[in-house]
């Protein structure tokens, strides 16, 4: 029967432990308390009933009543045994992993005791300590010791909260009070209960082990309670820091971080009103506060509105504790109406500038110490990381925006360039254009004049990027407004210089080359304003054509036109004409345009090609072979004249 009982209890305990299997040490106190409550409640009922029967017994003693009393006792004892048996087993199952060595200790001890008892019996064999089956008692003993050693009471007591500890303290006391009389119940071999040695023995041994457990719980809570406030504070601080490290990454919700920081300051500084003030251009730009009641609210208001207090706060450049304001301030000044006495002030830095202050105040003088200050500093440091992260995030968004704008600019700039290549009899045109950044300062245009004439323009604005692109757009605007189809190339260049000289930044200039091809007259005219020369390939000879000409917008028009000289040449079958910008020759000549020019010439001379497209490929291959990273805009126009 008892095997069945124990089995049921073990199964019950197992399921019970399953429910709250992974109870942490800090949560175990709550669990222990919960079970203790049920036990104490049952124990109290039992004692209360016992008391009633005792009372009745004084006035009216009867055999039947005593029997009923004993039978009720039996029921209570059994159910009580059931309860704490299952609880203790539950605890064992819960902490079995951690304290397996303690369980083993209990097991060894019971074996030792059993052997000791047997030996004593054999040696003295007068009276057995246990009546009935020894095996039964061995098992009972084993369980008792297992319970006793089942869990180490020490680690979870200090880790439990103060309230739990307090409750455990009182319940342990109560349980001790209940268990001692239980142990004292005598065996008068009367009735079923008292005649059953097993129940009595079992209950008493279990009650004894439970009593020891509660004595220990009482003892440890008694020791631990005085320090619980400190431990609780430290545990709170550790949890707070863990919480902080979680919120610190909340870059897109800086407001939430501010709120969390004042909230934490308020809670960790024993509910002292906390204030976070932020500045922009040294003016107050934002306030966050945390307080509980109206008095605290008044303190915050006072700190914000009272000039003297604000002056003290604003002057703080490193974490500071102001222990007593009335001592610090002249009593005639505001001392009389001071509504708080001590405060902690921590400055918030961003980019080496103070962007705010965290202020925690209390009515009691000398309330804050250095430890409080260092905790607040750690809050502020976290806040600073958040502010920095937020700043970076905003910067990234801004950059993204700028990047998009740049893409639009690039698209616009592409619209300035000719769309497609015009089809002209006897001419084959190839173009390569690659800006270094999203936008660039290189520029080309192809203007068809009548059926047989075509004007090629290639230009380069000094500098790169956005500014160059703006000037390029300006140049395109002037060309569009010019009478390109009727005026001469010379006049066009002079007009461009006239329009730009003295109107743009003096540090900026443009270079430009123009090539006018007449397929009917079979000739071409080349004009160069500070731009790179023209390369012509005719038959086996490759020529670099350089003419005189100052860059656009460098000098006034008279001087510009004085030096602008054109070159006229004839077109033969399969004449190649190459216009390009400095990006190409600098890439070929490793930043030296003269060398690049020679490399280009040599490449052309040493290669075999059938048309402009092939020549373009050869040149680009050479550029790539040089391994130079394109750090400048590169433009190349190849025009081939051929006769059918």
């Amino acid at each position: 029967m008892w095997i069945l009982l124990v089995t049921i209890l073990i199964v019950l305990a197992y399921f019970k432990s399953k429910v709250s299997k992974f109870v942490s040490a800090s949560k175990f106190g709550e669990h222990f308390l919960e079970n203790s409550k049920t036990l104490a409640f049952s124990g109290l009922i039992f004692l209360f009933l016992n008391l009633i029967f005792q009372m009745i017994n004084i006035f009216y003693s009867s055999h039947l009543l005593k029997l009923i009393h004993n039978e009720i006792n039996l029921i209570f004892y059994v159910s009580f045994s059931f309860l704490f048996f299952s609880y203790q087993l539950g605890w064992i199952f819960q902490i079995k992993r951690k304290n397996i060595h303690l369980l083993m200790k209990g097991l060894y001890l019971s074996i030792f005791l059993y052997v000791f008892i047997l030996t004593t019996e054999i040696l003295f064999s007068e009276q057995s300590l246990f009546k009935g089956s020894e095996l039964k008692y061995f098992i009972v003993l084993t369980f008792a010791f297992l319970f006793l050693f089942s869990f180490n009471i020490k680690p979870w007591v200090p880790l439990s909260t103060r309230t739990v500890q307090k409750n455990i303290f009182w319940f342990s006391l109560l349980m001790i009070g209940i268990l001692i009389p239980m142990l004292g119940i005598e065996n008068d071999n009367f009735g079923i209960y008292y005649s059953n040695v097993f129940f009595l023995g079992t209950t008493q041994i279990f009650a004894f082990s439970l009593l020891l457990t509660y004595i220990r719980a009482f003892y440890y809570t008694m020791i631990s309670l005085p320090f619980s406030r400190v431990i609780e504070q430290k545990v709170y601080e550790v949890n707070t820091l863990a919480y902080l490290s979680r919120i610190v990454r909340n870059y897109n919700n800086l407001d939430g971080v501010y709120e969390a920081i004042v909230e934490l300051s308020y809670n960790s500084m024993k509910r002292s009103p906390s204030l976070l003030q932020l500045y922009r251009n040294s003016l107050l730009s934002g306030v966050k506060s945390s307080y509980e009641n109206e008095i605290d609210e008044k303190i915050i208001e006072f700190a914000l509105t009272e000039e003297t207090i604000q002056k003290i706060i604003r002057s703080v450049e490193r974490p500071t504790v102001v222990p007593s304001l009335s001592e610090k301030l002249n009593p005639d000044h505001i001392g009389a109406k001071l509504i708080f006495e001590s405060m902690c002030v921590v400055p918030i830095f961003f980019n080496d500038e103070i962007t705010g202050h965290l202020v925690v105040m209390n009515k009691i003088p000398y309330f804050f110490d250095e430890d409080d200050l260092s905790l607040l500093v750690s809050f502020v440091e976290t806040l600073e990381i958040s502010i920095e992260g937020n700043h970076l995030l905003l910067q990234t968004i801004e950059k993204e925006k700028y990047k998009r704008e740049l893409l639009i600019a690039k698209e616009m700039q592409n619209n300035f360039l000719p769309k497609g290549i015009p089809k002209i009899n006897n001419l084959e045109i190839e173009i390569f254009f690659k800006p270094s950044d999203e936008v660039g300062g290189d520029f080309y245009d192809i203007i068809q004049i009548g059926n047989n004439k075509i004007l090629f323009l290639i230009g380069d604005v000094s500098g790169k990027g956005m500014s160059a692109a703006f000037y390029m757009a300006l140049l395109k605007g002037i060309i569009l407004a010019s009478e390109t189809k009727t005026c001469s190339m010379f006049d066009l260049f002079c007009h461009l210089n006239d329009s730009l000289y003295n109107h743009i930044d003096k540090r900026i200039h443009l270079t430009m080359a123009g090539l006018l091809i007449d397929t009917e007259a079979k000739n071409f005219e080349f004009l160069r304003a500070g731009h790179l020369p023209l390369i012509t390939i005719s038959g086996n000879s490759t020529n670099i054509t350089n003419t005189c000409g100052i860059g656009i917008s460098l000098v006034s028009s008279p001087l510009f036109s004085k030096y602008l000289k054109s070159y006229k040449g004839e077109l033969h079958n399969s004449t190649y004409l190459l216009l390009f910008t400095d990006g190409l020759v600098e890439a070929l000549g490793n930043k030296e345009f003269n060398l690049g020019l020679q490399v280009l010439k040599r490449t052309i001379e040493n290669s075999v090609y059938k048309n402009s497209a092939e020549l373009k490929e050869i040149i680009l291959e050479e550029v790539n072979k040089n391994g130079t990273i394109f750090d400048d805009d590169i433009s190349l126009l190849i025009i081939r004249y051929f006769e059918r």
Binding site: S462, R507, L532, S556, L559
Partner: protein
């Protein structure tokens, strides 16, 4: 300070000789610009730029001289260049800077030009 470009100055009478070293591009141009600005602020408008140690000049570098030449010439001064390397000269020549500025073989020659009051004009 950017080590790829350096400026050293020497004043002889009313002429400032500016020795420039290294690479003059968009990154280093402000350095030279400030240096020339300082010279002009000191009341000196006759400048010789010694290019003996100049290794590279970009269009932004050339822009520095254009930024000041008009003002300097208006104040009866000038910018002259001396001891220019061939590869630098070819850049000047390409842009037509040799038509705008006097480019002389050495500082003495440049000082002589100033002594004889040989100044180029914008117009």
């Amino acid at each position: 300070m950017d080590e790829k470009f350096k400026v050293r100055k020497q004043t002889i009478n009313d002429v400032e000789i500016i020795y420039i070293y290294g690479i003059l591009d968009a990154h280093t141009a402000p350095l030279l610009e400030n240096s020339i600005k300082e010279t002009i602020n000191n009341g000196i408008v006759r400048i010789v730029v010694n290019c003996k140690e100049l290794e590279y000049i970009s269009s932004a570098g050339l822009g520095v001289f254009m930024a000041f030449v008009e003002e300097i010439r208006y104040k009866n001064g000038d910018i002259k260049f001396s001891e220019m390397k061939d590869k630098i000269f070819s850049i000047f020549e390409l842009l037509g800077f040799h038509l705008i500025f006097d480019i002389l073989p050495n500082d003495e020659k440049a000082l002589d030009y100033f002594k004889l009051n040989l100044l180029k004009k914008n117009e």
